[in-house]
Structure formats: C-alpha cells, structure tokens
Symmetry: C2
Subunit: 142 residues, 2 copies
C-alpha cells in the first residue's frame, strides 16, 4: 500500500472500518513523526492533540494499522515495540548502539543476495529483517 494523506479513507473501503477522530489523530501523529515511535510516545502525542485518546485505543489502532500494512513494527529494544509508518520504499536499519540512533539504508545487492540464499535452500523469500549494530568509526573502542 502507498502512503497518502488519506490512507484512512482507503482503509475504510477495505472493510467495516470507521474513520474515527481517534484514528485520524493517531494517523496524523504517525505522519508527522519521522522517527520510530513506541505506543507510549504515540499516546503522549495523541493526547496533546485531544486528551480523549486512551492508550488502549492506541494499541488497538496500531494493530489495525499493522494488519493493514500502514505501519511496520520493530523490536529493536526487546521489551518495547516501535512503529514506523510504511514509506514509499523498503529499507533496513543501522543502529548506533552508543545512543540508539537509527539510520535507514537500502542496498540492492543485499536484497538480491537474500533472495538467492532463500532459493538455494528451496524457499521463496517473503520478507526479511536486517539490522546492523554499530558504533561511530571515530569512537575507538577497538
């Protein structure tokens, strides 16, 4: 699915899904934010717009969005789920383990290799997760 400002309306056509004020607010929070947000942060920002948004609704909405490929869930930190709005193009993540900063990258060669590896083992590649854990080159931890 392509991200547009009115993806909510698109979503509705697919099923019995209503465009509610809460969903609009949560969608706007996601569209505005470029970083990866956890539920707590999404809730905080949504409440800043309208205090009438419960965290249960954020959880339910994120699951709805995830099921409809509007967001992608990540588990960088093991204990918390981070969400990222699906953007035009696929990318992987480089994580600076010194400060948690996340850099997005895309590499066609790696994607191609992955597909080939799957095929070599008799499988068809459906999806993948690639995360690079790094430290800045200048930092000399050896």
């Amino acid at each position: 699915m392509r991200m547009t400002d009115n993806f909510l309306e698109e979503l509705c056509k697919k099923g019995n899904i209503r465009v509610t004020s809460q969903r609009k607010i949560i969608a706007s929070v996601l569209l505005k934010a470029k970083e990866h947000l956890d539920v707590e942060e999404i809730h905080k920002r949504a409440k800043a717009i309208d205090s009438n948004v419960s965290i249960a609704t954020v959880y339910r909405t994120m699951k709805l969005f995830e099921d409809n490929a509007i967001v992608t869930a990540h588990n960088f930190s093991e204990d918390r789920t981070y969400y990222e709005i699906v953007s035009k193009e696929h990318h992987d993540h480089l994580i600076n383990i010194e400060n948690g900063e996340i850099i997005e990258f895309h590499n066609k060669q790696i994607e191609e290799l992955q597909k080939r590896i799957a095929e070599k083992h008799g499988y068809k590649l459906i999806g993948h997760k690639l995360e690079l854990y790094c430290i800045p080159k200048s930092t000399n931890h050896n």
Copy 2:
C-alpha cells in the same frame, strides 16, 4: 568464547560465579538441544532431570549465560525469547513462516556487504541480525 563441555568452569574463573547443580543441568539441556529453546521448554527439560529447578532460576541462568556470551537470545515470535547456545561459527536464520522451522545459514558475501554499508555511513559494524522469512518454493501462494 568457544563452546566447550566445561564452559561452566571457564565461566567461574571470570567472576564470583559458582558451579551449581542447577546451572550444570541447564547447561546440559542447552548442549543437548540443537534447536532454539524458550525458557518454558528449557525449564521443562531441566525439571525432567531434576524437578528441583525453578523457572526463576532458568530465567536468571539464561541472563547469566547471555551476559557471558554462552547463549544468544532471539525474538523470532515477538512475545517469547528463544535461546541458542553459541556455536563455533556465526550464522543467520531463515524462517519458514508456514511452520516456524528455522534453518541456519552463513554467507560471507552478505557479511562483507554489511561491513561495507556500515563503513559507508561512518560506522563500525559490531553485530547484526538477519532473518529471512520464507515459504517453501513448492508452495505456490504466489
């Protein structure tokens, strides 16, 4: 660290760590099993050897082993942590999403590419996570 049958003894030398019967049992369970085990399964197998092993101890021991690079933790299924004993050589995982089966693989080209990508962004690669989610080729889901 290299995996040996007496890594527990090696571990002890590193700190104030005692070789207890529970730890021996848990270690033997891990050494015996080749698959990835979750805490519940480790606990079940440990209890089969000696019912005197609590799940709290399994959790504590797995953390101890993880901190000491004896096992690696994986979060394939989001809600459960799976552990794998550190083997001689590094590998990544190919996951059959139809039945959860996990195939291990290693590809030098990909490892090399990862290092290069990190460097291109000004980082030094410390670790990575690569998981390929696949379906059997024969299965024609398109």
